[in-house]
């Protein structure tokens, strides 16, 4: 009853496959750093065909779950009233949750079916052969001694040019020239930074790209998401003001183009936030706002509850789905386990960041639809497009506990079942005697 991954690797014929894989990984990691032209697509396509056709990818739970809802399950056990055996249903559901639950697994990195030669994904694989360890060792040397310094240099160049460029553009008076120049600066620096991470990004449906005066909404996996999106267009960022290097970048960027930065104290005041965002959206000459409604990083296997705040602002929503390919590197930021510096180090020592970005047709709130329903509609569309599962759970459960109201709801549902089964009899006797 083991997972496919554990019986995947056997000695012998895999030797050539691993060499192929390694060279493919190295190639994928190096090429973006050097090529600045668009002709790279053909090379990437070839590499991907070789690698992806060999690598299977599907996710499988560790237990077989029975998804029949409570009503059907309990009705199957008996017909009339409360019976002792009702406990079996709740008991089993509880134990299924203990062994494997839908929510907590989204807050840690996805498990891979087959190993991609990175120690960090080596959770369930054990020592297999000397050959494989040697191949892995070569991989480590390539990644840490070769790719890492290269990427680090590029990142340094990118950040410095971003700060210098935006400060210089910020000195100009407001005009169309300034907007054009700021766009050029932002795009160039984004592209350098994406190269620094060895990013290969495929943009689909570019005709649906977010327009000015709209709100761009995407699923959130890591801080890199913003760079991935700005690689292809300019957005106005929304977020908290940070200290340190991040704060310097934020202050410089806001001089060149109107991003929306909030002080930490202001973030608590929802009305203020909504008001400022509404003002920004109302001005049709301003860039589209980029918002991540999940509020926290999720591991890119599912989309969790969208907070309704972004959907109350009004305006057109442009949904975007981002899906990373986990074989080349794990983009998820587990903020409870790693801080931002070690996260960036891990990203820069992966093979590459490969992802697909789908731009989707704009959506507006329908008549009689409230913000929550609208948010759910947008979320379903994004999940469907990106091939992610949809969970109604709140991403905030990463740190907070479940509210008791949800438990009471379960209790209510069960008691409704009992009442329905019991009261049918009592009502009919009542009316007969009348």
């Amino acid at each position: 009853m083991g997972r496919p991954g554990s019986r995947l690797v056997s000695s012998g014929s895999i030797r050539w496959s691993w060499v192929k894989l390694l060279s493919g990984m190295v190639g994928k990691g190096l090429l973006p750093c050097f090529t600045f032209s668009r002709q790279q697509n053909v090379i990437y396509l070839l590499l991907e065909v070789i690698i992806s056709s060999w690598l299977l990818f599907h996710s499988q739970g560790i237990i077989e779950r029975d998804e029949t809802p409570m009503e059907k399950e309990i009705a199957r056990l008996h017909r009339v009233d409360f019976e002792f055996s009702d406990i079996f249903y709740f008991c089993r559901k509880g134990f299924e949750a203990i062994v494997e639950d839908e929510v907590t697994q989204r807050f840690s990195s996805e498990e891979l079916v087959s190993w991609n030669l990175l120690t960090r994904t080596n959770v369930n694989f054990h020592y297999i052969s000397l050959r494989l360890s040697v191949v892995w060792g070569i991989g480590v040397i390539v990644r840490y001694c070769f790719l890492l310094p290269l990427r680090f240099t590029l990142a340094a160049i990118g950040i410095t040019s971003m700060i210098v460029g935006t400060t210089m553009v910020g000195q100009l008076p407001n005009s169309s020239v300034k907007n054009y120049l700021s766009e050029v600066v932002h795009l160039t620096c984004s592209r350098i930074l994406v190269r620094a991470l060895s990013g290969t990004i495929h943009y689909h449906n570019k005709e649906n790209k977010p327009q000015k005066g709209g709100i761009c909404v995407a699923n959130h996996t890591s801080p890199i998401d913003a760079i991935i999106l700005t690689n292809d267009g300019c957005y106005a960022m929304v977020g908290q003001v940070h200290g340190g290097l991040m704060g310097v970048i934020q202050r410089a960027a806001v001089k060149a183009c109107p991003h929306v930065w909030f002080e930490r104290s202001e973030m608590k005041d929802r009305l203020l936030v909504t008001k400022r965002l509404r003002e920004h959206v109302a001005d049709k000459s301003k860039l589209p706002i980029l918002i991540f409604p999940e509020g926290t990083c999720i591991n890119n296997t599912s989309v969790m509850m969208f907070k309704k705040g972004s959907f109350e602002i009004g305006g057109t929503i442009y949904p975007v789905a981002i899906k990373y390919d986990p074989q080349f590197g794990d983009a998820f930021w587990n903020s409870s386990k790693y801080n931002i510096v070690s996260y960036l180090l891990r990203i820069m020592t992966s093979w590459a960041i490969v992802c697909n970005v789908w731009y989707m047709p704009p959506m507006v709130r329908k008549e009689g639809e409230d913000a929550v329903q609208f948010a759910n509609r947008v979320r379903s569309a994004i999940a469907r497009q990106g091939g992610l599962t949809e969970l109604p759970w709140d991403g905030g459960l990463k740190r907070a506990k479940v509210k008791d109201t949800f438990k009471e709801e379960q209790q209510k549902n069960y008691s409704k079942m009992l009442v329905r089964n019991g009261s049918v009899g009592s009502l009919s006797t009542g009316t007969e005697s009348d």
Partner: protein, 153 residues
């Protein structure tokens, strides 16, 4: 360091009859689940670690299920105890029925499963379900609604 502990635990697992019930890959999976639940990283789980699972927290019997893991008066459960309790839920295989009539009954036998369910009701552990214990169970299922009659007019 963690790898050394893991292999030592697996060695222990091989000698324990409970662990013979699970296959090697199942034990590995359960161990990685155990470590991911163990936020304090001290090799044991406390009640808070279980309550962090949202689907368990909304289960009306969540607290009793959590209590089933902790033996008398203890607040921590180690991996062996964790596996022992979960072993009750293994499906009954056909080939096991006729195997060992003389040896101890496997944890996932029919009568042991019923025993486990009985213990969920029996709070004071006196091997009897008293009227009060039954009322307590029904308390969890919102009896107010059940005992009220709604008039149609």
């Amino acid at each position: 360091m963690e790898k050394v502990n893991r292999s030592r635990d697996k060695q222990k697992g091989k000698k324990d009859t409970t662990a013979e019930v699970f296959s090697h890959s199942q034990i590995t999976r359960l161990y990685s689940r155990f470590t991911s639940l163990d936020k304090g990283e001290n090799g044991t789980l406390s009640r808070e670690d279980f309550q962090r699972i949202p689907e368990l927290a909304i289960n009306p019997l969540g607290d009793r299920i959590i209590n089933a893991f902790f033996p008398e008066g203890e607040d921590q459960v180690n991996f062996r105890g964790f596996m022992r309790t979960l072993a009750h839920f293994r499906p009954i295989e056909d080939n096991e029925k006729s195997k060992d009539q003389n040896g101890p009954e496997p944890l996932n036998s029919r009568s042991n499963k019923l025993h486990f369910a009985f213990r969920l009701y029996d709070l004071d552990k006196d091997d009897k379900i008293s009227r009060d214990e039954l009322l307590q169970v029904l308390e969890k299922v919102d009896v107010e609604q059940k005992m009220s009659i709604r008039f149609l007019h």
